[in-house]
Amino acid sequence: MKWLKTILEETIGLFVDDAAYAAAIVIWLAAMAALVRFTAFGSAVAGPLLFAGLAVILVLGAVRKARK
């Protein structure tokens, strides 16, 4: 059953190979969801903000890896 364990590990690894990077993405998504849910203007501004935050996370995540 080693192959099954390998497949399961690979499947989880599809989404998370760096916990800090994945956490930053999920936290930003939660922040945008809260913005839309709890403010009157949230749904109009959350789209561009969602993109901007993810772009920053992407670049910072790549830079962090490049420094290691």
């Binding site: 994945a22 772009a55 992407l58």
Partner: protein
């Protein structure tokens, strides 16, 4: 939903992602076939494909029973995690921080590993079968996820996404049958860069839909997100290369 602004990026993402994954699987199946014999290699790969088809047949209809907003939120989050992981790796590969994927090297490594198991006996080759089955499953699970994820995000997307994956499989099998060697000339890393951008854009859009974002231009935000993430990712390449270069020089 279901317009060209949705279908074209979904089909492109499913086709290119599947192409890359099937090329990687083909390398190992070819190594198995050339070292252990073709019966084990082809039955292993065939069994893997059957299991993958069953997974698509199960998860596709199940997702259709869940409210679309919830599917977009869950699948969008997974797609975004998956896409941003791919995209960061693609940036780091393009910047020279990570080694480029080399099918010739992968083929040589697999061939050596399979030879280490010794000669094949006369009966059914369980080692060859297991190696081909495992690689087909490993790479195929990614294809299934991408097809189901991009297909579940909007009405009428599942079939085009699935057909795109099947087309990629047929292209790789046909070329593999002619070349009979690893497809090392396929620009895998550039394809992964493009797929990472597409999946990240899709994931962002669907999460937005799921949480109630009013996207400017509605569905036309998808091409805008694709362009935006492409520009950001391309800008990240020289930045990472500059950071990594002094480190490499001082090492």
């Amino acid at each position: 939903m279901g317009g060209w602004s949705h279908i074209a990026p979904a089909v492109t993402a499913a086709f290119l992602a599947s192409l890359v994954e099937f090329v990687e699987a083909l390398t190992v199946v070819l190594a198995v076939g050339s070292v252990r014999g073709w019966r084990g290699a082809l039955t292993g790969a065939g069994a893997g494909l059957v299991v993958l088809l069953v997974l698509v047949a199960i998860f596709g209809p199940v997702l259709a029973l869940i409210p679309l907003n919830l599917v977009q939120l869950i699948v969008g989050t997974l797609l975004l995690l998956f896409g941003m992981r791919w995209l960061r790796k693609a940036i780091l590969r393009a910047a020279g921080v990570l080694a480029l994927h080399d099918e010739d090297a992968a083929f040589a490594k697999q061939t050596e590993a399979l030879r280490a198991h010794g000669a094949q006996g006369g009966g059914f080759d369980s080692i060859g079968f297991a190696a081909a089955f495992q690689i087909t499953m490993l790479e195929g699970v990614e294809v299934v996820f991408i097809v189901v994820a991009v297909g579940a995000g909007g009405a009428g997307l599942m079939l085009p996404a699935a057909l795109a994956a099947v087309a990629a499989l047929l292209v790789v099998v046909a070329i593999g049958a002619v070349v009979r060697g690893p497809l090392s000339r396929v620009p895998e890393n550039q394809l992964k860069f493009v797929v990472g951008v597409l999946l990240t854009a899709f994931g962002s859009f669907w999460i937005g839909e799921g949480i109630g974002v009013q996207w400017p231009g509605d569905d036309w935000s998808i091409p805008a997100l694709v362009a935006g993430f492409l520009v950001v990712a391309l800008a990240g390449v020289p930045l990472c290369a500059r950071i990594a270069r002094p480190k490499a020089a001082s090492a």
